[in-house]
C-alpha cells in the first residue's frame, strides 16, 4: 500500500499548522517525522487518520483519495493510529481496550489470533488483562495503546511520540518492537521529539519546521547532518 501526501495544508481557525507538505510512504517503509514543538507532526498524523480535515492538498492510498473520509472509515483501510498521549480507555479493562481495538473485525477467529499475538509481544498486558487500564504504569499504558492499534491488524501504523515520558529501558523495548513489526511487513510512520531514537529506527526521515518539510533524507544522513545535530539531537 502506498500512502501519498501532496501539498497538504491544514489550518485551525484560520491559523495554519501545515503549509503544503508532500511525502510518499511505500509498503514496508519505516519513516519518521521529527521536529520541535508545534511543528505540525501530530497534525500530519491526525489528518492522515481523518481526525482533522485538510484545507488544501490531498492524501491518497494506492491512488484513491482518503482525505475526505471519517476516522472510523480510515481504520478499515488498515491505517492504525497510536495517538499522542496514548488515549487509552482508562475506565475499561485491558482486554476490553484490546477488543475495542479490533472493533472493525467481526470474525472471532481473527480477533482471537490477533489478541494472542499482542499478548505474546507484550506479556505484561496478558498479566493485567482484567485490570482497569488507567491503573497501569505509563509504560504499560503505552504498550496497551500500541497493542490496541495492532488489534485492527494495520498495514500502516502511525505512532505519535510513543517514547514520551517513559523510562529509557522501556523506550528501548518499544523501539525494538517497532523494528520487529516493520520487519514483518508493517509500514511504520513514527513521529518523535526524541530524534535520536527515531533516526536510529527509521530508514528515511523528514524534518518538519513550522508546517513545512525543511529536510528529507535517509535517516542515517539526517543523523549526521550538522543542522539536525544542533537543533534536534542536542549534540
Amino acid at each position: 500500500m502506498k500512502l501519498s501526501v501532496s501539498n497538504l495544508e491544514v489550518s485551525y481557525n484560520k491559523v495554519s499548522a501545515l503549509r503544503g507538505i508532500s511525502f510518499e510512504v511505500d509498503s514496508g517503509d519505516f519513516v519518521t517525522l521529527i521536529g520541535s514543538n508545534g511543528a505540525g507532526k501530530s497534525t500530519t498524523l491526525r489528518t492522515i487518520s481523518g481526525l482533522v480535515k485538510p484545507s488544501g492538498g490531498e492524501i491518497t492510498l494506492d491512488g484513491a483519495r482518503i482525505d475526505n473520509l471519517d476516522p472510523d472509515v480510515i481504520v478499515q483501510k488498515r491505517i492504525g493510529h497510536v495517538p499522542e498521549g496514548r488515549r487509552i480507555f482508562k475506565d475499561l479493562s485491558v482486554s476490553e481496550n484490546l477488543m475495542l481495538g479490533a472493533y472493525i473485525h467481526r470474525d472471532r477467529n481473527t480477533v482471537e489470533k490477533t489478541i494472542k499475538q499482542v499478548f505474546e509481544h507484550f506479556p505484561r498486558l496478558h498479566d493485567r488483562r482484567n485490570q482497569q487500564a488507567g491503573t497501569m504504569s505509563g509504560g504499560e499504558q503505552q504498550m496497551l495503546a500500541i497493542g490496541r492499534a495492532l488489534m485492527s491488524r494495520p498495514k500502516i501504523l502511525l505512532l505519535d511520540e510513543p517514547s514520551l515520558g517513559l523510562a529509557p529501558i522501556i523506550v528501548k523495548e518499544i523501539g525494538e518492537f517497532l523494528s520487529e513489526l516493520n520487519s514483518q511487513g508493517v509500514t511504520v510512520i513514527l513521529v518523535e521529539q526524541n530524534a535520536d531514537l527515531a533516526l536510529q529506527l527509521a530508514r528515511f526521515g523528514y524534518v518538519l519546521e513550522t508546517g513545512l518539510i525543511a529536510m528529507a533524507d535517509r535517516a542515517a544522513n539526517l543523523a549526521d547532518n550538522e543542522h539536525v545535530k544542533k537543533a534536534y539531537l542536542g549534540i
Partner: protein, 289 residues
C-alpha cells in the same frame, strides 16, 4: 416498626423509577455531553401515552407500555439527529435545544389532554401482596419495580458484556480515540439517546397508574434525576443507580414522616452540600486535568 419497614419497602420500590430516569440522563450526558433538560418531559410523554391509549382508548396495558417506550425512543432519536448532532461542538447549544423540546412537549401534552385537573390511570393490576401480616405491596407497584429492575439489569449486561456496550463506554470516555478504533460516534450517540429516551418513556409508562399525570409532571422527574445524578457522580452509571436507591429511601421516609415538599427541598439541599463537599459524587471519579 411496621411503619419503618413499610416505608423502607416503599422507598426501594420508588427507587426503580428514579433509577430508570437518572440512568438514561447519565447515559445521554456521558456519550453526548449534552444535559437533556427535556428528560422529565420524555417521562411525561410516556405517562400520557398510557393515559391516552389505555385509560381513554382501552388498549391493553402492556401493549401501551411498549408503545410508549417506542414512541419516546423515537422522539429521542429525532432529538439526536436534528438537534443534538448539529450542535455537537456546542454543549450549551444542545442544552438550549433540549429546553425548547421541553416546552414543545408540554404544549403537545396540553393539546392532547386538555387543561384541567391531573389525569389518573386506574391500576390495571389490582390487589395487594401482604407479607408477614404487615407489609403491604400493591401488585401494581410490584410489577413496576420488577420491570424497572429487570431493565436496569439488562442495561448493565449490555454495557459490560457486549461489544456495543464497550463501544458506548469508549465514546463516553474519549470520542476521538473511539473513532480511531473504527467506532462511528454518531451511531453511538443515536444508541445512547434511543436507549436513554426509551428508559425515560418506560419510567413514565410504569409510573402512570401510580401518580398524577399532567403536562408539568416532568419537573419532579428532572429535579429527582439531577439530584440522583449529582449525588451519584456525573457520568457514573453505577453511581446513579446507588444514588437512586438512597435518595428514594430518603425521600419516602421524609414524605411519610413529614411531607413531600420538605422531602424535595431537603433533597436539593443535600445535592448542594455534596456539590460543595465532594463535587465528584459518591461514586464519581475525581475530576482530573
Amino acid at each position: 416498626m411496621e411503619l419503618l419497614v413499610q416505608t423502607m419497602v416503599n422507598g426501594i420500590i420508588q427507587s426503580g423509577f428514579y433509577a430508570l430516569a437518572a440512568v438514561g440522563l447519565v447515559l445521554i450526558f456521558g456519550v453526548m455531553k449534552v444535559v437533556n433538560f427535556a428528560h422529565g418531559e420524555l417521562t411525561m410523554v410516556g405517562a400520557y401515552s398510557v393515559w391516552f391509549l389505555h385509560a381513554q382508548n382501552d388498549m391493553p396495558f402492556l401493549l401501551t407500555v411498549v408503545t410508549a417506550v417506542v414512541l419516546v425512543a423515537m422522539i429521542g432519536l429525532l432529538m439526536e439527529r436534528f438537534l443534538f448532532r448539529p450542535m455537537t461542538d456546542s454543549p450549551l447549544g444542545g442544552l438550549i435545544c433540549s429546553i425548547g423540546v421541553l416546552f414543545v412537549l408540554q404544549v403537545a401534552a396540553t393539546l392532547v389532554g386538555g387543561e384541567g385537573p391531573s389525569k389518573q390511570v386506574p391500576p390495571p393490576y389490582e390487589g395487594t401482596l401482604v407479607l408477614f401480616d404487615m407489609l403491604r405491596i400493591p401488585y401494581q407497584r410490584l410489577f413496576s419495580f420488577a420491570v424497572a429492575a429487570t431493565t436496569l439489569g439488562l442495561l448493565w449486561y449490555f454495557l459490560t458484556r457486549m461489544r456495543i456496550g464497550w463501544a458506548l463506554r469508549a465514546v463516553a470516555q474519549d470520542r476521538e480515540a473511539a473513532s480511531l478504533q473504527g467506532i462511528n460516534s454518531n451511531r453511538m450517540s443515536m444508541i445512547a439517546m434511543g436507549v436513554g429516551a426509551a428508559m425515560a418513556g418506560l419510567a413514565g409508562a410504569l409510573m402512570a397508574p401510580l401518580t398524577n399525570i399532567n403536562p408539568h409532571m416532568g419537573h419532579n422527574v428532572i429535579i429527582t434525576a439531577f439530584i440522583v445524578t449529582i449525588v451519584g457522580g456525573v457520568g457514573s452509571l453505577p453511581g446513579a443507580v446507588i444514588a437512586s436507591v438512597l435518595y428514594a429511601l430518603f425521600h419516602t421516609f421524609v414524605t411519610t414522616y413529614f411531607s413531600g415538599t420538605i422531602a424535595t427541598i431537603s433533597g436539593l439541599v443535600i445535592m448542594v452540600l455534596i456539590l460543595i463537599v465532594r463535587p465528584s459524587g459518591i461514586l464519581g471519579k475525581r475530576v482530573t486535568e
